[in-house]
Symmetry: C2
Subunit: 267 residues, 2 copies
């Protein structure tokens, strides 16, 4: 179990104290946290809770949303929160098209500029910016960075220990270029996070909450796990699933299934 991490979004309604206790009980060594949930519990209190339980924080979600007016201040806060929580990985969901814009190239340039502007803050805090490409179905409203290739291109001008990329099976599985991208990301030392979720159909309205636990859908998880391992990644492997039906179930039960999915992928 030593590289497994439960991303908090998988058990969204599991209160943080119960989640931490459940992870300790199950021998889970790490959790991925979300800013909203951490803020609701209290940042310093959350940091202490997790630290005192002996859990690592594999990542904090999310910075980014660079289409919003206050992106700079908000991302600086996110960097500080990551540092306070003791994680070196801030996942960036880069945001969609601003307003009624149709300028996708312009939005992507803005993301690159924004990340560049944040690098000094991130380095000073010892936090790495992890660019997450989201599935192209989110390109308009959540993330104009739609492929691993784009994420790598945006990361390229910066040192690998300052700006990395996220390999998330859910977002990347359809892309025939992803295997080459994972190799390249590994060569550059840029794999900052590896997240597992499965593709299940039909998608629900709004498509955000349509993910399956690893092993329940169309994605070849073992191929991803092997590719990421072969690329030299030795960090945490998070299970991060958003689904109302998963959220409605007891946290410990979901945790057990998430772990089983992880095991099947990495065995």
């Amino acid at each position: 179990m030593n590289r497994f991490s439960l991303n908090q979004a998988t058990t969204k309604h599991w209160p943080l104290e119960e989640l931490v206790a459940g992870c300790v009980r199950a021998g889970v060594p790490a959790v991925g946290l979300w800013r909203e949930e951490v803020a609701a519990y209290g940042l310093d209190k959350a940091a202490a809770l997790v630290r005192d339980a002996g859990l690592a924080v594999s990542s904090l979600c999310r910075g980014g949303f660079f289409h919003e007016q206050d992106w700079y201040d908000d991302n600086r806060r996110a960097i500080d929160e990551a540092a306070t929580l003791g994680t070196d990985t801030l996942v960036l969901v880069s945001g969609g098209l601003p307003g009624r814009s149709r300028d996708l190239d312009g939005a992507r340039r803005h993301v690159a500029d924004a990340i560049g502007a944040l690098v000094p803050d991130a380095r000073a805090a010892g936090v790495r910016l992890a660019i997450e490409a989201l599935h192209p179905m989110f390109a308009a409203d959540r993330c104009v960075v739609a492929t691993l290739g784009q994420a790598l291109a945006i990361a390229a001008p910066h040192p690998a220990d300052a700006v990395g990329v996220v390999i998330d099976t859910y977002h990347l599985w359809w892309d025939d270029q992803v295997w080459r991208g994972i190799e390249e990301a590994g060569r550059q030392g840029r794999i900052a996070s590896f997240q597992l979720a499965d593709w299940i159909t039909p998608l629900p309205a709004g498509v955000l909450l349509g993910r399956g636990l690893p092993g329940t859908g169309s994605i070849d998880m073992r191929r991803f796990a092997t590719a990421v391992r072969n690329a030299g990644y030795q960090g945490w492997i998070e299970v991060e699933v958003f689904h109302e039906e998963v959220w409605a179930r007891p946290g410990a039960e979901v945790l057990a299934e998430a772990y089983a999915g992880y095991r099947a992928a990495v065995r």
Copy 2:
């Protein structure tokens, strides 16, 4: 109006005779037809109706669905139907993963093999197979061909007048490689069809019926129209939109808006 074509799926509930009369009345020179609707009306009768009205048939949707058992016989029928309707373009939606398979590469190889097997039939009938890449959100259940680059790779072994590709704004707009792909498709003479639909959010459950009329969403239609023209394409430009709310409206009204969207794109 001379290159505009109304794809029948945009006004799904408009009976074929009314649709044809409405197109003639509006001066629309071409229609794109669907096999199910044509079969419901009667193939020969539909062919005569459209021909007698002086309308061209810009394309027939759809062949493909190669994950199904009877793909060969069904696609041979689709080729014959296209020839009977007087169109040289059969749009292929290549199908998803078969059963519970997770072998995306294998499914893509099967699509390439299946298309190769159909080429002699298509050539004999004077019908071109037009490979349509669908948005990656359909990769599991409708079309494993998810990018224009993949469509071009599958087309590559075959003569350009036998196997072409579809440029559909809805499916391709998120891809930063699409502009290069359109240039390449043009150089090879492979652009067989150009279809307009816009990206609107939030997506509905099942995501199939989430398309907007051109001009109502996030896609830069003019950039696509210009790129396709610069690539040398001089064929029909279809508006093809699937949306329950659009279907609920009077056909003539939707036709007028579809045409306005086309005009704004090509002006």
